[in-house]
């Protein structure tokens, strides 16, 4: 197993456990407020939480938090930006630009002021930013929520390609069709907790 999540919990989040192999996609679905985003934040260790997560047998608690977050990347539904231009958010924009271009962004987007990209463009830029860290696991919170159909396909294709290369993905999505496209396994809220659905 690549990642092992054992009874991770916090206020507002029932204990959740699952494991993921390299190259595996896990879709998470449930109504608003059931704790999907809290779960991703807890796994990324952004909020105080109990439980343990292992990556390749290494305990999260034994690892410095910044190192953990480079291995287990998280892209929230509303990604944040701290600098003035798009390119300043990347340590190597020319390399990132190639990935961004595959998601339909122009190569000169690095020079854009941060006021320019639309929310859909920001989501794609955040995905590229997270991928540039070369994480082993990617936690995605509605990464295609504000995208047009063509961009959705591009994002799904890029993630599928990374899955084939061994990345594991936890993908929160409201769209049942997308869930079946991007992941073979499913974690669903059953009213009391997240349960894995058998055989999709």
């Amino acid at each position: 197993m690549l990642m092992d999540v054992r009874a991770v919990r916090r206020t507002g989040l029932q204990p959740v456990s699952f494991s993921l192999a390299a190259g595996e996609g896990l879709a998470v679905s449930g109504p608003s407020g059931c704790g999907k985003s809290l779960m991703l934040r807890a796994i990324a260790d952004l909020d105080p939480n109990q439980g343990e997560v292992c990556l390749d047998g290494a305990l999260r608690s034994a690892m410095a938090a910044p190192a953990w977050r480079r291995l287990v990347g998280y892209v929230p539904a509303e990604p944040g930006w701290w600098a003035d231009t798009v390119g300043q958010h990347f340590s190597d924009w020319p390399a990132a630009a190639e990935l961004a271009a595959r998601l339909g962004l122009p190569l000169d987007a690095g020079d854009w002021p941060m006021t320019r990209p639309s929310s859909g463009e920001r989501l794609r830029l955040a995905l590229v930013r997270a991928l540039m860290n070369r994480p082993r696991v990617l936690l995605l919170d509605e990464p295609t929520a504000a995208l047009d159909a063509a961009s959705v396909t591009r994002v799904e294709d890029l993630i599928a390609e990374n899955l084939r290369a061994g990345l594991a993905v936890v993908w929160v999505s409201h769209d049942p069709a997308q869930v079946t496209r991007v992941a073979r396994r499913r974690l669903r809220w059953d009213g009391e907790g997240f349960r894995e659905e058998a055989g999709a």
């Binding site: 260790d45 190192a67 997270a130």
Partner: protein
């Protein structure tokens, strides 16, 4: 030329007419300031009179313990003032604690530095020097620390998404919080930087004015003022740095998380 013009209660009453005029204007234009203004003016009169009385006693005793007690009381009040100016105070009294502790450290360090270095009264704790010096340093350090902590907490709240974005990418807490930390320190230091740049050109600082009015030769008053501004600048910088860095550690944790849950929730 060492005489000064003594003031009577009538002189003060005459000057207070200006503040009363302001209060009347506030009433007339419904600015809602009159209460605050009058309460602050009354506090000022009461507190200064009390301080005058305390100073008379302290100067008579020249006791290190009485001086220390007066100094600690002043620090306590300054901490309270700095904490009460916070829009988003930390929970559990941390704003007061951090503010008071860093103010105490900075003001004590700078005051003792001045008393043993430049001024050297005998004894060094002579309240005639120690208390006014501490008062001036505290007043400015208090403003700096209050502004610094307020800049830190409001900056963290307003830029939470940007900071967490960096934490998510594996930046450590120091680099993720660096822009907000820097701005908080700049806002803490801005008043004293402005005072230093403007003094002599635009403003004659209060202490120098006071000394000149009291009959001290201007050249000496200027030297005192320069000394005081150096001390205030040093004290404000040290105090604000201690308070803001303490705040950075309190509002993050060793797992490099942003801990805004340690701010009081707005009721």
């Amino acid at each position: 030329m060492s005489g000064y013009i003594a003031l009577s209660a009538g002189d003060l009453a005459l000057a207070s007419v200006l503040v009363l005029c302001n209060a009347a204007l506030s009433l007339r234009w419904q600015l809602g300031l009159e209460r605050k203004l009058l309460v602050a003016a009354a506090r000022m009169v009461l507190q200064l009179s009390l301080m005058g009385w305390v100073l008379v006693k302290l100067f008579a005793w020249v006791s290190p313990w009485a001086t220390l007690l007066a100094a600690l009381t002043m620090v306590g009040f300054a901490g309270h003032e700095a904490a009460s100016r916070q829009q988003r105070p930390m929970s559990g009294g941390w704003s007061y604690g951090l503010g008071t502790l860093s103010m105490f450290l900075a003001a004590a360090l700078v005051t003792i530095f001045a008393l043993t270095g430049a001024l050297r009264p005998d004894p060094w704790y002579d309240p005639r020097y120690a208390i006014p010096l501490l008062g001036m340093i505290l007043g400015n350090t208090m403003t700096g620390i209050g502004l610094g902590l307020n800049g830190l907490t409001t900056g963290l709240v307003n830029r939470r998404a940007a900071i967490e974005a960096r934490l998510m990418l594996g930046h450590d807490r120091r680099s993720a919080l660096a822009p907000v930390t820097r701005e908080a320190l700049v806002s803490a230091m801005m008043p004293i930087i402005n005072t230093m740049s403007a003094s002599g050109v635009v403003a004659l600082p209060g202490m120098m004015t006071g000394q000149i009015l009291g009959g001290v030769p201007p050249a000496q008053a200027v030297k005192y003022q320069i000394l005081i501004l150096f001390l205030i600048g040093g004290g404000t910088g040290l105090g604000a740095l201690a308070a803001v860095m303490g705040g950075v550690y309190r509002l993050t944790d060793d797992r490099h998380r942003l801990r805004l849950d340690r701010l009081l929730s707005r009721s």
